[in-house]
C-alpha cells in the first residue's frame, strides 16, 4: 500500500528533476526522458497493477507539469507500459542492448504519438529540427535506460541482497534475450 502512496511524490520528483536537468544541460531543447525510462522499468519488472498505476500517475504528472493537453502523456505512458509488460512476458529483459534499443524505440514511439496528436488533432506546427532533436533524444534515452537499469539492479542487490524485481516473469516461459 505504501508503494501507491509514494507513487505521486516519486513521479513529481522524477518529472521535476528531468525538467530541471533538461533545462540545465540542453536549455530545454532536448528532453531527458527519465520518466519514460521509469515506465519501461515498471513494464519490465513490476506487476500489472503496480506498473499501470505508476505509468498513469507518471503520465498525468508529466501532462500537468509540461502543460500539454491532459491525457496525452498519460496515454503514451500507458501504451509504453503495456508494451513493455507484454515484451517482458516473452523475453528475459536482462541484456543491456535489448533494454537500450527498446527504450530508444519507446522514445521514438512516444515522440511520434505526441507529434501526431499535436499536428493532426491540435493543429500545431512542429519545429523544423524536430527530427534531429527526436533522434538525439531517443539515443540519449537508450543510453540512459541502460544506466538506469544497471543502477537499479545494483541498488536492489545492495539493499535486498537480490534483484527485487526479477527480469523473468514467474510462471512464464520467456525467451532469453541472451540467445
Amino acid at each position: 500500500m505504501i508503494f501507491y502512496f509514494f507513487i505521486p511524490f516519486m513521479a513529481i520528483g522524477v518529472v521535476v528533476f528531468q525538467t530541471v536537468l533538461s533545462d540545465l544541460l540542453f536549455s530545454g531543447w532536448v528532453s531527458i526522458e527519465l520518466s519514460l525510462i521509469v515506465v519501461i522499468y515498471a513494464g519490465f519488472r513490476m506487476d500489472l497493477i503496480k506498473g499501470m498505476s505508476l505509468a498513469l500517475v507518471m503520465g498525468f504528472v508529466l501532462d500537468s507539469i509540461s502543460g500539454t493537453v491532459e491525457g496525452l502523456f498519460t496515454l503514451a505512458y500507458l501504451m509504453i507500459f503495456t508494451m513493455s509488460f507484454f515484451v517482458s512476458l516473452r523475453m528475459v529483459t536482462e541484456k543491456q542492448y535489448l533494454i537500450g534499443l527498446f527504450s530508444l524505440f519507446c522514445c521514438v514511439l512516444e515522440s511520434l504519438l505526441v507529434s501526431l496528436v499535436d499536428r493532426l488533432i491540435l493543429s500545431r506546427e512542429t519545429s523544423a529540427d524536430a527530427l534531429l532533436i527526436l533522434t538525439f533524444q531517443a539515443i540519449l534515452t537508450g543510453f540512459l535506460s541502460v544506466g538506469f537499469f544497471y543502477a537499479m539492479r545494483r541498488i536492489e542487490n545492495s539493499i535486498y541482497g537480490k534483484a527485487l524485481q526479477p527480469s523473468q516473469r514467474p510462471g512464464t516461459s520467456g525467451v532469453s534475450a541472451e540467445t
Binding site: 505521486p8 511524490f9 513529481i12 520528483g13 518529472v15 521535476v16 528533476f17 525538467t19 530541471v20 540545465l24 500489472l48 499501470m52 498513469l56 503520465g59 498525468f60 504528472v61 501532462d63 500537468s64 507539469i65 493537453v69 491532459e70 491525457g71 496525452l72 498519460t74 496515454l75 500507458l78 503495456t82 488533432i121 491540435l122
Partner: protein, 281 residues
C-alpha cells in the same frame, strides 16, 4: 468465466478507455486546470524550488571556483609585477643614492680647486697584509702612482699600482701608508701611519704638545704628495704615559673604507684629466 479468463485484458482496456476519454474531453473542451492538475503543480513547486536551489548552489560554487582560478592567475601575474616593480624601485633607489654620492664628490672636487678624475671602486682588499681598493681608472686617464685619492669624507689614500685602465689605492689604514699631518686646532705636525683596523697612529709629536681626543687631523702639505688641508680623521686616544719622547696618538679616519664606492683622484695642479690621458696614451 469470461471475466475471469480475460480480466487482465479487460482491466487494461478499461484503463485505456478512461484515458482516451480524458484526452478526448480535454482536446474538445480545452478546460482550465482541474483540481488534480492544480494539486500536482502545487506539490511540484517546492520540489522545483529545491532543485533550482541545489542547481543554483552548484552553479554559484562552480562560478566561484572559476573566479578563484582567475584570481589565482591574476594573483600570480600581480606578484610577478610586484617583483619586477620592486627590482625597478631598487634600481631607482640605488641610482638615487649613487647620484647623491656623486653629487657630494663633485662638490668636493669643486671645493678643492684641484683637477680631479672621478673613479668607481671595483674591488677591495682588506687583508691583513695590505689595505687597498681597486678603482676603474688608470694611466689612460692621466693617473700616476702617488696621486692622492679622496672621498667626500676626506683623504683615503694614494695610488700605488697604476695600469692603463685601473689602479690600486693604498688606504690610509694600510701599515705602509705614511702621511704628513697636522692637528687642526694646534697646528702641530706629525706623521700619520696606517694601523689596520685601529685606523691610524700619528707619530713624532712631542709629549709637550697640546693634543686632545676629538682634535681633527688634516694633511699638512709638507711632502708635496698630498695637498694641504685634506681631512683625515679625529683623534680618538692620546697616551702620554708611554715610554719615549713622543705621544702615542690614535686617529679614527673620517672615511668608512668598507663603504666607499666612488672616489676622486686629485691630479697635480695645472694638469687636466683629458690632457693627462692623451699625453699618457
Amino acid at each position: 468465466m469470461f471475466f475471469k479468463n480475460y480480466r487482465t485484458v479487460l482491466f487494461i482496456g478499461v484503463v485505456f478507455l478512461a484515458v482516451l476519454l480524458l484526452l478526448s474531453y480535454n482536446i474538445k473542451y480545452d478546460s482550465a486546470a482541474g483540481l488534480a492538475k492544480k494539486a500536482v503543480l502545487e506539490a511540484a513547486t517546492p520540489v522545483q524550488k529545491f532543485f533550482t536551489f541545489c542547481i543554483n548552489g552548484v552553479e554559484n560554487a562552480w562560478k566561484r571556483y572559476i573566479h578563484l582560478v582567475g584570481l589565482e592567475e591574476e594573483n600570480r601575474q600581480l606578484k610577478s609585477k610586484i617583483d619586477a616593480l620592486q627590482a625597478e624601485l631598487l634600481l631607482y633607489k640605488e641610482g638615487n643614492k649613487e647620484a647623491q654620492r656623486l653629487k657630494g664628490l663633485l662638490a668636493l672636487g669643486k671645493e678643492l680647486s684641484y683637477p680631479s678624475v672621478a673613479a668607481r671602486v671595483i674591488g677591495r682588499q682588506q687583508a691583513a697584509l695590505s689595505k687597498t681598493i681597486w678603482i676603474d681608472k688608470g694611466s689612460s686617464d692621466g693617473l700616476k702612482p702617488g696621486f692622492p685619492v679622496i672621498a667626500p669624507a676626506g683623504l683615503i689614500g694614494r695610488l700605488t699600482d697604476v695600469t692603463w685602465h685601473s689602479s690600486k689605492v693604498m688606504l690610509l689604514i694600510d701599515e705602509n701608508s705614511n702621511v704628513d699631518v697636522l692637528i687642526q686646532r694646534t697646528r702641530v705636525q706629525g706623521i700619520a701611519r696606517g694601523a689596520g683596523s685601529r685606523g691610524c697612529v700619528v707619530k713624532y709629536i712631542s709629549k709637550i704638545q697640546d693634543v686632545k681626543e676629538g682634535d681633527t687631523v688634516l694633511t699638512s702639505g709638507m711632502s708635496n704628495l698630498f695637498p694641504k688641508g685634506l681631512q683625515i680623521g679625529k683623534v680618538s686616544y692620546v697616551d702620554r704615559m708611554d715610554v719615549g719622547l713622543f705621544l702615542h696618538i690614535q686617529v679614527v679616519p673620517f672615511a668608512d673604507f668598507a663603504k666607499i664606492e666612488e672616489v676622486l683622484v686629485l691630479l697635480p695642479d695645472g694638469q687636466t684629466p683629458s690632457a693627462a690621458g692623451k699625453k699618457e696614451r
